[in-house]
Amino acid sequence: MGRDKADLMVVDGLSMRDRGMELLGAVTAKSFLAIAEDDDRQYHHPTIQDLRENAGPMAGLESAFRHSPEATWLVTACDLPFLTAPTLQYLVESRDPTSDATCFTSRFDGKPEPLCTIYEPSSHSSLERMLSGGVRCARRFLSSLTRKEIELPELSALDNCNRPEDLEEARLSLNHGRTLKNVLVEYCGVLREDAGCASEEVQTRSVTAAGLWEELRMSRRLSLEIDSVKIAINDEFRSWNQPLAEEDKVTLFPPFAGG
């Protein structure tokens, strides 16, 4: 969905972009919207334009450091519908100015999360060096820094949304809250081999089956894309937008190949 998902997705009555700016504004002295080098739209937020094209979030941080080299920058993505003020506040309170960065550990793979992160001025030189060296992966950049890593106070605060199913998951969970549910997950065919088991009990805060898929895809390293997978809930075919209930049995089907 690209950058425009920041417009599409409405959370708490605000676009994700406006909501993100509001959250940042509460914990920073001044906040800016990082925009692409060819973005000529008008925004009602102060903007900092990328200086190079197709460099992703690293380009945004580069422009921010060029704008104010002495500043410490807190960077967040626009596609984090579950990010809350308390989580950001916790990040700010946990800040270690003697490290290059302060960041959360991903709940999915235990690696540092680059897009809800405090970058100190000391990280500027390695940023420029890595960009010149062709590195475009913000996570790789962050992994190269000295950093203080902290656990997420709210487990799903950094779950992002890249697909329509994720938006529905986000919309429902913000309206109905994310309660902890126990579900039985069954894996079939290649997914059973990926997961290393035919079934397991899973605790999830996801509201819909799509949210659960996203959790499992990452944590169990499932090899398929959601488009090629079908699901049954309690032995009935269902759509990904189906809300999950306590004790549901969720079966994940790879592409069928009978006959």
Binding site: S223, F253, P254, P255, F256, A257, G258, G259
Partner: protein, 144 residues
């Protein structure tokens, strides 16, 4: 009648179930395990099925066929587990007053079985490797 079985399919049992004094025609489709797939030599197969959903959906397909083609009988059976080359993997039997409907219905049933039933096929090759059929092109890229 739809069922899954891990035992070899006995063609006569299903064929006899199609006997009906109202029926003037019986058509049978048998899907066999062949020794090649997309130019690659295949040694043997393994079928995996999700029993509860496959049997429920299989019965729905047969009911649809009976209504759509005005059949006297529709039955299908699908193997699970390891199969050798030449074995029968799936069998469809239908009967109706006239032959035309039975040909069309047989094709409808096997096409829907392949499209709608949660059944998976793993092929084993001479070089010791194996592959889940249908999953080759949909391997996902993990995002960061």
């Amino acid at each position: 009648m739809f069922c899954l079985t891990s035992e070899p399919i006995d063609p006569s049992t299903l064929r006899d179930a199609a006997n009906n004094p109202h029926a003037g025609a019986v058509s049978i489709f048998e899907g066999l395990v062949r020794n090649h797939h997309q130019g690659r030599k295949v040694l043997r197969l393994e079928y995996e099925a999700h029993g509860p959903v496959a049997e429920k959906e299989g019965r729905i397909i047969l009911r649809e066929a009976i209504e759509k083609f005005d059949l006297d009988y529709a039955g299908a059976i699908h193997r699970t587990g390891p199969l050798e080359i030449g074995e029968c993997a799936v069998m469809v039997v239908v009967s109706a007053p006239h032959r035309s409907e039975t040909f069309d219905a047989c094709r409808f049933v096997i096409d829907e079985v392949k499209r709608r039933l949660p059944i998976w096929k793993k092929e084993f090759y001479p070089d010791g490797s194996s592959n889940w059929v249908g999953c080759e092109g949909c391997t996902g890229k993990h995002q960061h």
